[in-house]
């Protein structure tokens, strides 16, 4: 039996819209072994609570996510990392936060816990007073000791998120790139526990600033699914307006960063101009430049301002006029040639890591969370999702340009026909369990939570960055040292969403 069938055969706990399957440890171990035979289901996330470990997988063939859990026995659960390499970072995170050990895990080094917290295992039932020991960090050994090591970070030269990259190589060739993250770990999951969904939404909105709307939508949807509440149609449409504005802003930012990394100043100048116009329109329409805290469980915080739609359409008209020129600037300038053929993600890597966003779609993985039935108003808008096969930095950049055009079209259609009515509903203080998701500019975000009489008992928020950092590590040995900043910019990597 394959892994998906093993999970589906297990008993279920009620969770909406997809049930959560409870596997005995022996069944979980069997499932972990069965993962070796097939690239699907891909692992999206692995997390825990005080008694269980949970996995969110994606069955590419059925186009459906799968939730599986198993009980921790004597502090252990069978690891998934031998057959799903991405699981190693999650297993190390689970070890650091909850103290559950992945038996047979591919990597047992600390991840988020750098040895500076007052307690070890802060999410465990009884946190340990002993501090973790992980400074100085231990990096993977490299066979040839004739190679140079280059440490980069955690503080970088630009206006960049904190992360550490350890490069091993000689001259232009790279033998290994290892990322050490966790620097921006803020204890978000622990802060959310015990709060009401409305209070907790502020933390979801601050998991990753560039995807504040997307995370807030996924969190709100998970809450609404758990409580079987339906947000009003006007709120659903306004959420989509905010999400598409955030997508354009994110893509403009990433395009600007690629131009900057290449020393090609006109692209960042143009993109920065339009991005600023968009943030100002967002401020007029929704009262916040980044639309932070504008999406809440039950709907949206406030209706769009009366002059808001015109402000947004004005900024879009300006951008639409310039978009063709931006494309020419990219294609006819030197940038397209520089980016062609570097930082290649293969189709099998994209599906093995379940790479979301343009990173996956540039490598032929035709996945966009906006296409899930019943998600947002996209079903009525004939959403078109461009996909390319080359998988290189050039393909990722082209897709960003193409998606800006599509988002402009969606926004015009949405603002042209905003449904009337209220923008939020009150939520009952009930119990339940739900999953929510959204497509951010970087890729799909997934939130899971369990409510106990209106309070959050357990939660996890999965940012697309988990897969992107891992892919960046995986492809670096094929790159030249000098191309690395360009490749990194084309991935649009950020650490806060992954550091939790």
């Amino acid at each position: 039996m394959d892994a998906s069938a093993l999970i589906r055969a297990a008993v279920t706990e009620p969770c909406l819209p997809w049930p959560r399957h409870i596997l005995a440890q022996a069944e979980w171990a069997q499932m972990a072994e069965a993962l070796a035979d097939e690239p699907t289901p891909a692992l999206l996330a692995l997390w825990a609570d005080t008694a269980h470990v949970h996995a969110l997988l994606y069955d590419e063939a059925a186009g459906e996510p799968l939730l599986a859990s198993t009980r921790i026995e004597a502090g252990l659960y069978p690891a998934l990392s031998p057959n799903r390499p991405l699981s190693a970072w999650f297993e190390r995170m689970v070890q650091d936060l909850w103290g559950h050990t992945a038996a047979g895990g591919a990597d047992q080094r600390p991840w988020l816990d750098h040895g500076h917290w007052p307690q070890a295992h802060p999410m465990a039932l009884r946190p340990d007073d002993l501090r973790g020991r992980s400074e100085p960090p231990e990096f993977l050994p490299v066979a040839d000791d004739d190679l140079d090591q280059i440490p980069l970070g955690p503080i970088h030269g630009g206006i960049e998120p904190a992360s550490h990259l350890r490069l091993t190589g000689r001259g232009e060739s790279i033998a290994r790139l290892e990322a050490r993250l966790g620097y921006t770990h803020k204890g978000t999951l622990a802060l959310i526990r015990g709060k009401s969904p409305r209070a907790a939404a502020r933390f979801a909105a601050r998991l990753s600033g560039e995807a504040t709307v997307a995370h807030a939508i996924a969190f709100a949807q998970a809450t609404e699914a758990a409580l079987q509440a339906e947000p009003p149609p006007r709120a659903v449409a306004l959420r989509a307006v905010m999400a598409e504005m955030e997508r354009i802003a994110g893509h403009l930012g990433a395009l600007g960063a690629v131009g900057k990394a290449a020393g090609f100043c006109e692209l960042p100048a143009r993109c920065g101009y339009h991005r600023e116009a968009l943030h100002r329109a967002a401020n007029l329409a929704f009262g916040h430049r980044l639309m932070m805290d504008c999406v809440i469980p039950g709907g949206v915080a406030a209706d769009v301002a009366p002059n808001g739609p015109d402000a947004v359409l004005g900024a879009l008209a300006d951008l639409a006029k310039d978009l063709l020129e931006l494309e020419h600037l990219y294609e006819r300038g030197p940038l397209a040639r520089w980016l062609s053929g570097i930082g290649i993600v293969s189709a099998s890597q994209a599906s093995r890591f379940a790479a979301g966003g343009v990173t996956g779609r540039a490598a032929g993985r035709d996945f966009d969370a906006r296409r899930f039935p019943g998600y947002g108003p996209y079903g009525l808008l004939a959403l078109s999702v461009p996909v390319l096969a080359a998988g290189d930095a050039d393909a990722r950049t082209r897709l960003r340009l193409a998606e800006i055009g599509e988002s402009i079209r969606l926004l015009r259609a949405l603002l042209d026909a905003l449904p009337p009515g209220p923008v939020s509903i009150p939520l009952p203080a009930d119990s339940g369990e739900g999953v929510g998701f959204a497509e951010s500019a970087r890729g799909d975000v997934w939130h899971w939570l369990r409510l106990d009489h209106g309070q959050i008992a357990s939660v996890f928020m999965r940012d697309p960055g988990w897969a992107h950092w891992a892919l960046f590590e995986a492809i670096a040995p094929c790159a030249r040292m000098a191309d690395l900043p360009l490749i990194q910019a084309s991935f649009d990597l950020a650490s806060s969403g992954v550091d939790l």
């Binding site: 988020l112 750098h114 500076h116 917290w117 007052p118 307690q119 802060p122 400074e135 955690p154 503080i155 970088h156 030269g157 630009g158 206006i159 960049e160 998120p161 904190a162 966790g182 620097y183 921006t184 770990h185 803020k186 204890g187 978000t188 622990a190 802060l191 502020r202 933390f203 601050r206 998991l207 990753s208 600033g209 560039e210 504040t212 930012g253 100048a269 920065g272 101009y273 991005r275 600023e276 943030h279 430049r289 980044l290 932070m292 020129e325 950020a494 806060s496 969403g497």
Partner: protein, 175 residues
């Protein structure tokens, strides 16, 4: 639009950069008092800024980066971002100062040549913001570094950050 068209538009409409807003006199005056003893001799009328991420969600970075766009055009005020604390007069710090970054932030401060200013940007950098009380944060940049200027907001708008930085510049020049 052709190059000529663009030149014509610039001649007709002027540059995209907005006229600068007036500097907040009160902030400038209070800073001037505090910095009197040291500043002018040390720095003059331009400041090199190094950005330090002390655990930010990335929201403040969006607004700090916006300072460099053509609309806000930071450099016309004599304010420049530099790539290393070693080249900086000002450390512009965002984020609640996570415990995992305390060492790195201290090292960056030590590497910055005297005289130097520390500017805490955003509610998190001011006092931990929404993350107050978490086991994973030190709780604001001030817990580790001597902070000269606090700019609150989640995130503060580019205008607000700019106003703070220009007040710093002004105070620095006057004293």
């Amino acid at each position: 639009m052709s190059i000529l068209g663009r030149i014509a538009r610039t001649l007709r409409e002027g540059p995209a950069a907005e006229p600068p807003a007036p500097v907040d006199r009160e902030t400038a005056a209070s800073l001037a008092g505090r910095l009197e003893a040291a500043a002018q001799v040390r720095l003059g009328r331009s400041l090199a800024i190094s950005h330090i991420d002390a655990g930010s969600c990335g929201g403040c970075e969006i607004e700090v980066r916006a300072l460099t766009n053509v609309i806000h055009d930071l450099e016309r005020y004599g304010l420049t971002f530099v790539a290393s604390p070693r080249h900086a007069d000002v450390l512009l710090v965002t984020g609640p100062l996570t415990r995992n970054l305390v060492d790195a932030v201290e090292q960056a401060w030590t590497a910055t040549p005297d005289p130097k200013f520390v500017v805490a940007v955003g509610d998190c950098a001011v006092d931990g913001g929404v993350f107050k009380g978490s086991y994973a944060i030190a709780g604001g940049v001030g817990t580790t570094l001597p902070v000269d200027l606090l700019i609150s907001g989640c995130p503060p708008t580019p205008e607000r950050i700019l106003a703070g930085l220009r007040a710093l510049l002004e105070a620095n020049a006057r004293s």
